[in-house]
Subunit: 212 residues, 2 copies
């Protein structure tokens, strides 16, 4: 099984890189699919699952679950159940075959598959520029607001990562390769990273056959 | 000018990677050469220069300089003079043409040349194994002693890096690519990294020609 996990800073182009790598390697790409599957399996609203998986660990506002309205501490209980579902869903998807899995602690959850683990990052200035270029129609955030948003999203990712893996999000020790996308078009970078993934898979195959 | 700077954890195989990349790219390789040049220019003992460039910022033991014996605070003064020489020597070498420069804050000192900046690291276990495999004849250190030595050398590198660059050694933000060598033969990794360097140089060339 050839699995690539990609953790990334918000605005670094990690998602585009993951999609392009999956295309180049001819394998599945899982990102939003994981949220959809959790929502379906747990009969929860997709947006709610997404919020829970994005935000910090403790939610302090009411949220709709399916058709009912939930307040903490129900939220906390749901959060734990979502975490469990996430692991189940992710492993089920991974078992289907070669894939690229975005974020969500996949590098730790899918560790048994010996995935190639990438971390994608960029300078704050580059991340802000990227967010500006890709902003939804009608949305206009100032540079300061964008920076705050980037920090907020990444803080949520870091908190959830630490909850799942008990290790620090973005610490290079957790990954095989950390790549800075500042000033590099993702389209040009993707074949490089796909090559690197192929190389790592080849190395692991050799190592396995040596052990055998 | 095509310059690659390589910072590395002790025992990660960064030096071997640098040498192999220089061979593959057909360019100069500077590591020990910088120390030799500083010693020559400043009429200092090579081992002394090496010790100063390896160790932490404040030395608290007597050391021989050329033929004389020096005690702090002379050492402090020499340390500053070595730092200045280091910058001069490094820029002189870089100006000669394409090269790979190992450690010593080269990523910051040579920033004007827009070098490709790599950081090489590995798990502690892998670094210890590598040190054991490459230990000088007759030297035998226990695993605990090796680990202490690895931490000591890297602490020295970190301190000197911070002194030169005012930024944190090993922080991925300072580099273009951070590569984990755990379980990967350097000989196999080198062509991958040389390819990546070529790719980055190509990208920069395109960007420059767009600006022009």
């Amino acid at each position: 099984m050839r699995i690539i996990t990609i953790s990334r800073e918000f605005g670094s182009g990690g998602r585009e890189l993951g999609k392009r790598m999956a295309e180049l390697l001819g394998c599945a790409y899982y990102d939003r699919e994981i949220i959809t599957a959790i929502a379906r399996e747990d009969s929860l609203d997709e947006r709610y699952v997404e919020k829970m998986m994005e935000g910090p660990s403790f939610m302090t506002y009411p949220i709709t679950i399916g058709c009912t309205l939930s307040y903490p501490p129900y939220a906390k209980q749901n959060e734990i159940s979502i975490l469990i579902s996430q692991q189940r869903v992710m492993k089920k998807l991974a078992a289907k075959g070669d894939c690229v899995v975005m974020g969500q602690g996949a590098d730790s959850i899918l560790n048994e598959y010996q995935p190639v683990k990438l971390f994608v990052y960029a300078d704050m200035e580059a991340k802000i520029r990227r967010c500006q270029e890709r902003r939804p129609k009608g949305e206009y955030l100032t540079v300061r607001e964008l920076q705050r948003e980037i920090v907020r999203v990444d803080l949520g990712r870091a908190k959830r990562y630490e909850l799942i893996t008990s290790s620090k999000w973005g610490n290079k020790e957790n990954y095989h390769l950390c790549v800075n996308t500042t000033g590099i078009p993702i389209k040009a970078l993707a074949p490089q990273m796909a090559d690197y993934a192929r190389f790592r898979f080849e190395m692991e195959k050799q190592e396995t056959s040596e052990i055998e």
